[in-house]
């Protein structure tokens, strides 16, 4: 579909009032961590900039990203952002189906080559020529590569697209592969999480659409405004961590007192995400606030770094025996201790025998 209109035109068509529009701009500036001075800039960009089509592809995934996105806490934000997307093609939200849908996708690819933003939820499995994920009768990897070729930038939604997530966990039978490993030469912005927080998703899209550039990214390609700090850095239980006050069991007194969940396996210290600041469901809560440790769902390998309820991850040794750092270390130390004891005994024996046969030489010859 060709759309000469600006974002603002689209909003008005959707029945969004000027007042709501201004509120949206102010909220967005705040959620992106920008100063209030940016609200008019966002408004100006929305009024003058031509609407950028966003194509939303779904590969190997569970649709939790879409589900999170459409539940963006602030209904206004979700309305606005949804109307920004050209929903000609999105498995979850589009009206069309079958050949009609595929034709619409092809049309956007042709008419907006080099202009559209490709949002990818899920990842392509590469094993068996990609046969583990078929979309529109062909392997998803084909569709992804074709659409990526004409995209201006790619948004990797969720942990699946960003780092593989559950389907890429050991031994990864389908060879599920994150987007940045199959698409080269395009700017890719990762928004990991299983799913990512709705406000984070809308915030990232709004930034890209209004400023027509990528937000500042960290070394892994995640927007620093949402992934620049660990859960632990802003966790409200942090004073208990520093004090050395931990829940030792799920139902103990410390747990009731709201002590730190570190000993119960909390992954907050190693997880970059906005849960402890933005929180979930319109800022209602987040896992730690609900009494459960963070499982690190937005981090690479979070599934393989289990068990979730232990500080020490299982280490997979070449022999196939599952262990962890302390079990391996203590095991090795045990063997060494026994070896030393035996060796010391043998040494003493040898010395005794040597001095018995040759009493003159005392120094172990």
């Amino acid at each position: 579909m060709s759309s000469p209109e600006t974002f603002y035109d689209v909003f008005r068509q959707q029945g969004i009032s000027r007042r709501s529009f201004n509120k949206f701009c102010a909220l967005t500036a705040a959620s992106l961590g920008l100063s209030p001075a940016f609200a008019p800039k966002i408004a100006h960009a929305m009024e003058t900039r031509r609407r950028t089509p966003v194509i939303w592809l779904n590969g190997l995934e569970c649709t939790c990203c879409s589900e999170s996105f459409i539940r963006s806490g602030h209904p206004l934000v979700s309305d606005v952002v949804l109307s920004m997307l050209s929903l000609d093609y999105s498995h979850v939200l589009m009206a069309a189906a079958g050949h009609q849908a595929e034709a619409a996708l092809e049309e956007t690819r042709r008419d907006h080559a080099g202009e559209y933003i490709l949002a990818v939820e899920g990842n392509p499995p590469l094993n068996e020529d990609g046969m583990f994920c078929i979309v529109g009768g062909r392997p998803f990897i084909d569709q992804l590569q074709e659409m990526a070729a004409g995209a201006k930038a790619i948004v990797a939604w969720g942990s699946c697209a960003s780092n593989g997530c559950v389907q890429a966990a050991r031994p990864n039978p389908t060879q599920a592969t994150p987007i940045h490993k199959v698409i080269k030469g395009k700017p890719i912005i990762k928004v990991p999480g299983c799913p990512p927080i709705a406000e984070v998703m809308t915030g990232v899209l709004t930034y890209m659409l209004t400023f027509d550039r990528l937000p500042p990214l960290d070394r892994l390609g995640r927007p620093t405004m949402f992934y620049g700090q660990r859960i632990h850095d802003k966790c409200y239980r942090r004073p208990h961590f520093d004090a050395g006050q931990f829940a030792e069991a799920w139902d103990d007194e410390n747990s009731r007192k709201g002590y730190c969940l570190y000993k119960m396996g909390c992954r907050g210290p190693t997880t970059y995400n906005a849960c402890s600041t933005v929180r979930w469901n319109d800022g209602v809560s987040f896992p730690i606030q609900s009494g459960h440790g963070c499982i690190g769902c937005s981090e690479e390998n979070f599934w393989d770094n289990g068990p979730f309820y232990d500080r020490l991850a299982d280490v997979h040794t070449p022999l196939g025996v599952e262990s962890n750092a302390d079990k391996m270390g203590l095991g090795a130390l045990g063997v060494i201790g026994a070896g030393i004891a035996a060796h010391a005994a043998a040494s003493a024996l040898q010395r005794a025998r040597a001095s018995a046969t040759n009493p003159k030489s005392g120094s172990g010859e």
Partner: protein, 242 residues
Amino acid sequence: MARKQGLLHSLVHHATEVQTPAAKIYVYEAPVRIWHWLNAICIVLLCVTGYLIGKPLPSVPGEASFNYAFGYVRMIHFGAGQVLAVAFLYRIAWAFLGNHHAHQIFLPPVWSLTWWGEVWHEVRWYLFLEKTPKKYVGHNPLAQLAMFGLFLLPLLLSIFTGFALYAEGAGIDSAWYSAFGWVFGLLGDSFSVHTIHRISMWVIVCFTVIHIYVAIREDIMSRQSLVSTMISGWRYFKDDKE
């Protein structure tokens, strides 16, 4: 090329077996000895506090604002880590400035067949298959190999992963992170780096236990002094005493 080889040869310490007997030789200069004991203290502190970082002690009672138990454990760890790293830089500098033995643990001549032969001789000595130990001015070849593979490399790994984790605490916009953030590119996510950091602790613990046992045993059983050498710097050869 030939010149380069010559240079390399003069740099590398082929653990020299003593031919001409001398009653005592000055081996470990003061900087090496000071480093050894400072390093040993730091490592003990780091292993104890590091172990507790992964497996904290039972919770302390009282208000959070009046307690800082886990904070102190981590503070001691980071402090000892910083001292260890600076001491290590100083030890590297001394490898260039110091005597012939000062760079021995940094460059085991792994390409030399004679050297491997001597490693094998030491292995046989420890397995009681060899009656007479050889005499060495510096470390014996097996010790040299262990100090390189079981100590120096894991120590480097600990230092780099340790500073990378420290940089995360300082924040991704800190100078620490600019200096050490690349470690995550190399080794993976933060949690995996924690796991690697902890495994490398266990390697160092294993080395230390063996090292202390062997130092004391060799002091008694071999033909040279050891423990006192690391204190005074002088190596005594027992059969040359008279």
